[in-house]
């Protein structure tokens, strides 16, 4: 049962400014765990990570370790990686294929849908019901096109209600695969960051910073993306509601009209991929998809699809967040996948030519949040020029803080309702 909020969040979060304490207060972080991470829909993993029966991988929801399992009947299960006997860590491996899990402490053994199979030295448990000692489980699992989400709340909005307009962006991402299928098989980089998770959440769709934070790489690598983040860009920032926000580059790509320019390449350089796309969608639709490219969307609170890669944000403490990131890999397109990996490895992770600088900003932001004056951080950019798009979502100029204001509106709802 959710307790009433212990802070007056309405006095800390206004339309276009946020009090610094919301980023560094330990008690607020604990309340976020209860009201956001252990309640709402949180992204956990992808079906391609557990393709076969009895496959499992270790995942997380915030600081809580989760076993993501395809059980013996083929169903996806999200179990807590904790032996119900004495709280020992049940599984110490990153993944594998197994039908049972045995706790190393007293050898309690569980099948992979979480049921206790038997006590070791069972004579000491006469009259005890094994069913009372199942593994903890995430009660609600939602899967949208292979993306697996979990919610600790027994009741609440469905995953599709939660995703809302963001579903269309997931569809857009998967349209870039001729098969429509994603294979997240390249493994994750894990980037440890001494900053509050919300600095990352906000920055993922901040179109104001790239011209400055990333000017070094824009000036030495001719990627052609620097101008997307300038005052003359036609790209849009968008607030989908429910905390989901987007940086929509399609207006800019459509204006330019070159297939695969979004990926810094051409059909001639990826002929097998281009042919597979035309085969799957027909010439006209394939051309449209290859012009529009893949989306740049932050799905609240932890899934960031950044055109060519997928990030998962994992808060582990008020001042520490792990950024997990892997390259998108589409089924059946090896030439395209190699470029996805190479570009991803170059740009993100601990040594990434882009993300190492973003992460430097997160850590400086976090230290700055603890400085008392000024206490308020401002998010007013473009407030005067917000408007509704044809679907009714709030949009703004590519450098405006429409997404950040949207994130805080949703945050305030979650923290006060």
């Amino acid at each position: 049962m959710l307790q009433g909020p212990s802070f007056d969040y309405r006095s800390l979060i206004e339309q276009s400014r946020v009090h610094s304490s919301v980023y560094y207060d330990e008690n607020i972080f604990q309340e976020e765990l209860d009201r956001i991470w252990y309640r709402t829909w949180v992204y956990v993993g992808h079906e391609s990570e557990i393709p076969n029966r009895n496959d499992y991988v270790t995942k997380s929801i915030g600081p809580t370790p989760i076993l993501m399992i395809r059980d013996r009947s083929g169903e996806v299960k999200l179990l807590l990686n904790k032996c119900p006997h004495r709280g020992n860590q049940l599984c110490a491996y990153q993944g594998g294929n197994r039908t049972t899990f045995t706790c190393p402490y007293h050898s309690w053994t569980f099948n992979n849908d979480g049921q206790l199979m038997g006590f070791a030295f069972a004579d000491g448990y006469e009259g005890c019901d094994r069913k009372e000692f199942s593994l903890g489980r995430i009660p609600r699992i939602g899967i949208y096109r292979g993306l697996i989400f979990g919610s600790f709340a027994e009741e609440g909005p469905t995953l599709e209600e939660h995703l809302g307009g963001a579903k269309a962006s997931i569809d857009q991402m998967l349209a870039n695969a001729p098969s429509g299928e994603l294979d997240l098989t390249a493994g994750f980089l894990q980037h440890r960051t001494k900053a509050n998770w919300k600095f990352m959440l906000e920055n993922e769709t901040d179109g104001y910073h790239p011209a400055f934070v990333h000017s070094s790489i824009f000036s030495v690598a001719d990627s052609g993306i620097g101008s997307l983040y300038g005052p003359d860009s036609t790209a849009l920032t968008r607030d989908y509601g429910n905390g989901h926000t987007e940086f929509d580059l399609r207006p800019e790509w459509r204006k330019r009209g070159n297939p695969l320019e979004w990926f810094g390449t051409t059909e001639a350089r990826l002929p097998a991929y281009a042919a597979a796309m035309r085969e799957a969608y027909g010439d006209e639709r394939a051309r449209e998809i290859m012009i529009d490219g893949s989306p740049h969307i932050m799905i609240f609170p932890n899934l960031f699809i950044a055109e060519i890669q997928l990030f998962v944000l994992q808060p582990v403490a008020v001042n520490e967040t792990i950024q997990h990131v892997t390259a998108l890999q589409f089924r059946g397109t090896p030439d395209f996948n190699r470029r996805l990996r190479q570009q991803t490895m170059g740009s993100v992770g601990p040594a990434g030519l882009l993300l190492a600088d973003d992460t430097e900003m997160y850590e400086r932001n976090h230290r700055g949040a603890a400085i008392r004056d000024p206490e308020w951080l401002t998010l007013s950019r473009g407030l005067h020029r917000e408007r509704r798009d044809e679907r009714g979502y709030l949009v703004g100029h590519s450098t405006d803080e429409v997404p950040q204001r949207g994130i805080w509106r949703h945050y305030l709802d979650l923290m006060t309702e």
Partner: protein, 175 residues
């Protein structure tokens, strides 16, 4: 002429005078590279690399396939150049100010010689101080060196961070 000194077992114990000199020269090269990295001597470090360079920092283990799995760094010669050019802009924020560094290279073993190429392994301990704080990095590294006009050059460098299966902080200095 191809001479294979050994495959998995190093030859250190069996070194005669000439080979001991060779090992000393290799060590001196590794110490030189380490000094260039510690002092952010970007141009001089980049100049050590051959055209067919591979600069590799694996993730999630030490025997992954960098052509299939994500790595922390997997640079060819061209991307090494971009990495260095970025550092030299002065706007690589994570290195502005630069990390203060001191590293120890130890346990140097010559594993194999093939013609002008030498396979070497060593342990590396790096102390980094930057605005976030102090970080110690440890790696089991492997090098492929090429002797060109009587000077060693880098062909391949694999930095096997011992904790590469766990979350690690930003790694933006030359490792």
């Amino acid at each position: 002429m191809t001479e294979t000194l050994t495959s998995e077992r190093p030859v250190t114990a069996a070194l005669d005078g000439g080979r001991r000199d060779l090992l000393t020269r290799i060590e001196q090269f590794l110490f030189h590279e380490a000094h260039l990295q510690d002092t952010h001597a970007y141009d001089e470090w980049e100049a050590l690399w051959e055209k067919d360079a591979i600069y590799w920092v694996p993730a999630n283990g030490h025997d992954t396939d960098p052509e299939k799995q994500m790595s922390i760094i997997y640079d060819n010669r061209s991307r090494i150049g971009i990495r260095i050019d970025q550092l030299k802009t002065g706007r690589r924020h994570t290195q502005t100010p630069r990390s203060e560094l001191a590293r120890l290279i130890s346990n140097v073993q010559l594993m194999k010689q093939e013609g002008a190429e030498y396979e070497v392994r060593a342990n590396v301990l790096i102390f980094e101080d930057n605005m976030r704080g102090e970080t110690v990095w440890a790696a089991r590294s492997e090098y492929r060196l090429r002797l060109v006009e009587d000077a060693f050059r880098l062909v391949r460098k694999k930095v096997g961070l011992v904790n590469n299966h766990k979350p690690i902080f930003t790694l933006s200095f030359l490792v």
